[in-house]
Each structure stands twice: as C-alpha cells, then as structure tokens.
C-alpha cells in the first residue's frame, strides 16, 4: 500500500493508516492527558506521516515508525505546555518500587471496568506514572509492542525497556491494588493456574 501511495494513489493512505488509528491516539493521550489535544496531535502525526512517507524505510515496521512520529508530536506539545518538564530516569539505579502487600486482594473481575469510577482509577494511575515509564508501559502493555519495537520507537536500549516496564508495573500495583480493593468487594477466588 505504501508503494501505491508513493506511486500517486494517494487515497490509499486512508486505508494504510486505518489499523493504527487507535494506537496513535492512545499514545498521544497517554502523554497529553487531554482528549481534544490528543486527537489533534494524532491528526497532525498522520499528516506528518503522509508528508514524509517517502522517507519510510521498509527495514523498520510501519507501525513503529508511525508511533515514533506520534511520540515526537506529543512530546513537542508537552514541552510547549510544560517547558520546565524534565523526566530524567535513572535506569541503572537498583531501587525498584516496593509493591503493595495485600494478601486478601488478588483478583478484580474485568466486568468492574463497566463502572466509571474503576476506569477512572486505572486511568489516573497510568497518568501518574513518570513519563519515561508511561511511554514504555503504553507501548508494551496497551499497544502490545515487543521489547525490540518499543526500544526502537523510543530510541532506548532493550535493557531500559525491561527495567522501565518492571518499575511501571510495580508502581501501578502499589498504587492500584489498595484503591481497587476498596472500590470492589473482595474476591477470594484464586486464579486457576495457582
């Protein structure tokens, strides 16, 4: 399809990007925390992708290339809004977050996501992650990109992807486990694989 667009069938670009509409929006939203701004950033990212399509190298995945454009667009907007924003992360530090230790809470049924306040708790916890961890978490867990693609999109090492993902997961567990425990009746049902 890329060849078709570059060959002059520009309308094909609409079909080319359709599978990535959600990913690009989600990436922008996870950085900007504002739906209208995320939508605008996503549109702008797709327009930039169209303009620069000729520069796409087929040795990288199109989705990774698109996500990198969306990230750059969202980061630029974030810097304009918060020029003082620094989010330096020490990937070499050995201090990992300490998880919440609640032995009476294991499982929350996914049906509870029908409840607005539960969705809001989950979104707030994601929003509260430091930016560098949030980017990795969204790519790995929400976008289901593999470690290599995540490292490529963010231009960081595979070791950093793994470290940031691990810390993000423990931070979310620490933040969400106590909140969800009080938001949802305790279930003592165990996972079938234990």
């Amino acid at each position: 399809m890329i060849e078709k667009v570059l060959g002059g069938q520009t309308e094909t670009f609409h079909e080319l990007i359709r599978p990535y509409e959600r990913s690009v929006y989600l990436m922008a939203l996870s950085l900007l925390h504002n739906e209208a701004e995320a939508e605008d950033a996503a549109q702008e990212a797709f327009i930039k992708a169209y303009r620069h399509l000729g520069k796409f190298r087929s040795d990288s995945r199109f989705s990774t290339w698109l996500i990198a454009i969306a990230l750059n667009e969202a980061r630029a907007r974030l810097r304009r809004k918060q020029p003082q924003l620094t989010d330096s992360i020490d990937d070499t530090s050995e201090n990992s977050p300490v998880p919440a230790q609640l032995t009476d809470w294991r499982e929350i049924p996914s049906e509870t996501l029908e409840r607005k306040e539960v969705r809001s708790l989950v979104r707030s916890a994601l929003d509260a992650l430091p930016l560098a961890y949030r980017e990795v978490f969204v790519l790995r867990e929400l976008e289901e990109r593999n470690v290599q693609e995540t490292a490529d999109a963010l231009d960081i090492t595979i070791a950093s992807v793994k470290m940031r993902l691990h810390r993000a997961r423990l931070m979310l567990q620490k933040q969400l486990a106590p909140q969800l425990k009080s938001a949802v009746p305790v279930s003592r049902r165990r996972f079938p694989w234990f």
């Binding site: 667009v5 520009t10 989600l26 996503a42 998880p99 929350i108 996501l113 691990h166 567990q173 234990f194």
Partner: protein, 88 residues
C-alpha cells in the same frame, strides 16, 4: 539459592513475561509456593495488567475516525503527494 521476598519482586516482570532462566524460575516458584504475600503480589500485578490493557479504559472519542480522515483529505489536497526518497 534461596530467594527472599525482595529478590522475588525483582523477578516479577521476568516471571510474568516468561523470560527467566529455568533455574531462577524454579526458585521463584519455590518461594511463591510458601509465601502468601509474594504470590498475592504476583496475582494482583498480573490482574492489574489485564485491567489496564482493556479497551474500555481508554475509549476513542465519538467521531474520531471520521474527523481524522476528513482532516487528512483536506491536508492531502494542500500538500504535494509524497515521493519515494532516493537519498541513500
């Protein structure tokens, strides 16, 4: 090798992603079998990952796709069509 709880927390992601070597995985499982705190941490972390990945957490705004393609159509009229970059 006997693992304490803090060691096990360091291995939680590797355990969930199944990237631990066989020996470490066996030691983690041995600890989990006897430690209610760590097995609850593992369960709750896994559960939270399932919840966060659910499409209902972040929903696309109504009309997002239509607005995107309308804006693209407009932009495509105003910019020259992309061409293959022949630079090495």
């Amino acid at each position: 090798m006997v693992l304490n709880c803090r060691h096990v927390w360091d291995y939680i992601s590797g355990y969930l992603d199944n990237t631990l070597d066989a020996s470490t995985r066996a030691h983690v499982e041995e600890h989990l079998a006897h430690c209610e705190i760590c097995s609850a941490i593992l369960d709750s972390t896994r559960n939270i990952l399932i919840l966060t990945a659910d499409d209902r957490v972040f929903e696309l705004p109504l009309g997002y796709s239509e607005r995107l393609h309308a804006r693209l159509t407009e932009a495509m009229l105003n910019v020259p069509p992309p061409e293959k970059d022949t630079d090495p």
